[in-house]
Structure formats: structure tokens, C-alpha cells
Symmetry: C2
Subunit: 304 residues, 2 copies
């Protein structure tokens, strides 16, 4: 299997601490590097965890609160200093232009690559990137400002051709694509060879879902259903549930409830409030609802 | 003596590394906290080194290159989250408004304090802040964009009154100010008491000078002359002198040459290029010209 791996660069919340960085993560898939959110210090975290900046393909910004976006100017400048050329795609809400325009006005002339800013749709689910192998979509979350979650999913792969069968039945190259798509093979003398003899099933497509920041909302379930891994914010412990509601954040228990109802395989929680130094309570509250819950930490790598 | 202390929060240059943060430093003097420059991650460095954010009085930005300014949005937001009220003064070139305006447009409504932006004069030396005890001035440096250095200096203090002499000669309270300013005291029966009997000399006023970023320029000497401590950038070793010239930076030897000609007491060098992991060579080059040179490092505290 080709790598499909998430690296947590930061899983703190608005108030940074000495032990937690603001939100950012990297997703390596399809031999490309995608970033979701870019809090202050993200470029330093990339260095610390030896991420290959030159591979960065696109940046997805869930919403414009500072702890998800203030690392962008530094990262964009450093990419240029490092000789990045070509393009960088940024998927973010329209209002990022307030920020980008001023940055470009003073710093943009020095950049040796082009920034493409694609606007996120804060009302609807939509595919925002796709190629032959993967599809990335965004969907609305429930927060104080327009906020989107993201799903990065592999597409259904074709069947695997058995190499030895190609030789055995002398299958011409021109027939291989249709066999991979499920067709039987008919030999020169008219024998029908069942597709099952010629192929094996591909690996099932993998799916990663990201939901931060958001209040508890069952509306997101259809989008994240059945994900191999769900990252869901869990800013608060259950005792601070009222505060979670007021600030449009989730408790760990609520994150776990969403994971359970969405039938995901694994839940990663993060975006912890700076008030919690220890996370055991938060963790056990989530596990009481959804056993396969792990706590995000800086530098964590998760294979999807 | 009241504290007059510099804390180095970052002494790297444009390309951040895992072991050096971009430029920022704090100066505690006159029971106030001043910041010079604010590279990305500065607020985290403040936490790491236990600086008291609530004491922050003013921020001085030498120039608008990202490694001196990209930490500002995060710091300003966090100050507000922490409940800072009143005002924050920012002394920076006019063009900071490109940056501040966009920040204020999206984030400003949430701030519970006022930002005063004072424009630096990039052509002349000028006093930018003063009170009874201290004076802060700025002066032009020689860099690729408008850049200013800063001098933070105590004013001449009045003479110290000897407490026991007040009682002995029954000096009325109303006379004390003029005696502190140098006057003799005349007793009720007409005797003239020499001021020298009544007072001791105050501590000499202390002076700190900051020069980063800048090419070698003897024009700055009159401003920084006789400083107790000079912080001067030393981006390059002597072997990279041509590169220093081209990028309007200094070598360590050039920084030391300025220190020597300015007759300062101590030189701190910083703003090292990311190409140097080890700084021994850079240090010894500076020391060959000016012996009392120390290397800046993150977390360093210097008593002026």
C-alpha cells in the first residue's frame, strides 16, 4: 500500500502553551503532502518533525480563527526562501483575502511561486480536489464563524491483475484495463476465463476525516461515515460542557458520540483547552463512549 | 539599582531552524516591559521564559521583514484572550498598516484594548518615547528596506540624598529637590552646608543599543556611542563577507568593529544565518576585534 499518513504538528487551542502548539497537521497521500490548518509556529513544527516542505501541494484552512491561520505568512515566506516554485493551493473561506492581500502587497513580490486561493463553500458539501486516485471534499461544521471539515479519501481502486496469468493466457496489453475493471478474458480459441481467476481484490479505499473546530453536530455524520480515522476536536471535559456549548466547541464525550454514530474505525481527539495539563480525564470520558479513541500529541503519526 | 534587563527570545535570521527562533527580545526597565521585534513564535517564547505578558508596554519593530514581525498577530490576539486592557503602543514603519489593517479588519473587533501605531522615521534620529527616568530613541540602519535601530537609555538621575543628613541638619522636605539637583543647604542660623556632605553620586545612567538588521555602517556610531551593551547583528562569518554585503547584513567582525569604534562596554551578537550550526568561528572572529563579545542564545538574560 502507498503511504497514507497523518502527522499532528499542533493540537492545542486558541491559547498556546509551552507544551502544545496551535492546530496544524500534514497528510501524506498519493505521494503528495497536504496541510490542514496552519497555526503560528507550524513551519517550525514541520522542521522539528522533518516534514518535506518541498512536497507541499495544498493547504486547507478550516476557518479563520488565529490559532488555525497565523502560521501562514511565515510558512509562505519560508517556502519561497527555500526556492519553492510553481504553485501552492490554499483552500479557505473568502475572507482569508483580508489576510492574504496585505501579505501579498508587502511580501508577495518576493515570492517565486504562485498562490491560488480557492474559496470554501460554508453551506454545502463539495468536492474541492480530485485526481485519479484521491478525492478531497469539504463540508460545513458548526462553529462561531464559517468553518469547514475535510474528508480525504482514496477512490475505489481497480482489481489487481495477477502477473503470472498474463503470461499463462498470453493476455495482450490492450485487454488489461478492461480485465482490471472486471471483464472476463476470451482466449484466441474461444475459451472464457473467469475474471476471478485473473485478478485479486484491491485494498479497500482509505478515508480520513477532520472536524475542528465544531460544536456537537450530528449533521456532519453523513460526510464522515465509515472513515478509517476521524480527527474530531475535544476542547473540553464533560464538566465544562456548558462552556463547550457557549463557545461552539465539543467535549470529548461528544466527539466520541459522533465517532460512534459515524461508525468510524478510530477516533483521534485534539484541540484541547489550555486549562488541561493532564488529559487522562478527557481521554477516559471519550473511551467510555467509543473505545478506540487516542489522544493527539505533537509529532504523532497515524497510518490510515 | 532597579532592574534593566534584556531577555533574548529569538536570535535566528530569516530561515528558522529547530534550534533558533526568529528575532525578538524583551527589555525590562523602569518597571515596564518593552519588546523589540516580534518574529513568528514570539508569544510561545515569552511563555517558555516566563515573561509577564501583562506588563508589556510597547513593541518596537525594526523593519517589516517577516522574521521580525510575523509573530505580531498571534501575540496581539493572545494579549486580548488574556484580558489585556488599555493600550499597546507599536512603533514601526508606516507600512505596518498593510499588515495591521487586515488584522484589525478581521480580528480587531474582538480586541479589548487599543493599538496605537506610531510611525518610525527612517531618515533621522529621534526620541520616540520618554518619561521622567528613561528615553527611547530610534535611528536609521542600513538594510534592504527601511530599518531602524533603537537606544533605550536611563536619564541622568538626581543626586542621592543621605537620609541621616536630613535628620542631622533638619532639612525641610521642600528643600530636598534642589539639594538633589546640586544646591547647598543653608541652615536657619545661616551656615552653608556643602552639597557634597549631603548627597552621594547616583548610579551612572545605563544605556542599551539594538542594531538589527544592518550592513556595516559607521554612521550609526554617534547614536550608540558608549552604550553599556550593544546588540548588533552578525549574520555571517568573515568567509561570507561578500554575501553579507549583497544582502545588507554584517559579519561578526564588522559588528565587533562597530562595537570597538563606539566604545561600548559589551557586545552581544545574534541574527545568525541558518547555515551555521556551530558559532565558534563567528565568535572568535568577533573577539579578535572586540574581546568582550558574547553570543546571543534563546533565553539569555543580560543585565545592563
Amino acid at each position: 500500500m502507498t503511504p497514507f499518513q497523518v502527522t499532528i504538528l499542533g493540537c492545542g487551542s486558541a491559547m498556546p502553551t509551552t507544551y502544545r502548539n496551535p492546530t496544524s497537521q500534514l497528510i501524506e497521500v498519493n505521494n503528495k503532502l497536504f496541510m490542514i490548518d496552519c497555526g503560528e509556529g507550524t513551519q517550525l513544527q514541520m522542521r522539528k518533525y522533518k516534514a518535506r516542505m518541498s512536497k507541499l501541494h495544498s493547504i486547507f484552512i478550516s476557518h479563520l480563527h488565529g490559532d488555525h491561520v497565523f502560521g501562514l505568512p511565515g510558512l509562505l515566506s519560508t517556502l519561497s526562501l527555500m526556492g519553492h516554485t510553481g504553485e501552492i493551493n490554499i483552500y479557505a473561506h473568502k475572507e482569508l483575502e483580508y489576510f492574504l492581500t496585505s501579505f501579498m502587497k508587502y511580501y508577495g513580490t518576493q515570492l517565486n511561486y504562485k498562490i491560488n486561493h480557492f474559496h470554501l463553500d460554508s453551506k454545502n458539501n463539495s468536492v474541492i480536489y480530485e485526481n485519479k486516485s484521491i478525492e478531497i471534499s469539504s463540508f460545513p461544521l458548526k462553529h462561531r464563524v464559517d468553518t469547514n471539515g475535510f474528508v480525504i479519501a482514496e477512490k475505489d481502486a481497480p482489481l489487481h491483475m495477477k502477473g503470472d496469468m498474463i503470461d499463462f493466457y498470453r493476455i495482450p496489453f490492450s485487454k488489461i484495463k478492461e480485465i482490471k475493471d472486471g471483464a472476463d478474458f476470451i482466449t484466441e480459441d474461444g475459451r472464457v476465463i473467469d475474471n476471478k481467476l485473473l485478478t485479486t481484490l484491491p485494498n479497500p479505499p482509505r478515508k480520513y476525516a477532520y472536524c475542528s473546530d465544531t460544536a456537537y453536530s450530528t449533521k456532519i455524520i453523513p460526510y464522515i461515515k465509515g472513515a478509517d480515522v476521524l480527527y474530531h476536536e475535544a476542547t473540553f471535559e464533560e464538566a465544562d460542557k456548558a462552556r463547550a456549548k457557549k463557545t461552539y466547541h465539543s467535549t470529548a464525550k461528544q466527539a466520541a458520540e459522533i465517532a460512534k454514530q459515524s461508525e468510524v474505525k478510530k477516533l483521534i481527539v485534539g484541540h484541547y483547552s489550555s486549562r488541561y495539563r493532564e488529559l487522562n480525564q478527557l481521554h477516559s470520558e471519550a473511551k467510555s463512549i467509543f473505545e478506540n479513541t487516542v489522544l493527539a500529541f505533537e509529532g504523532m503519526k497515524i497510518d490510515i
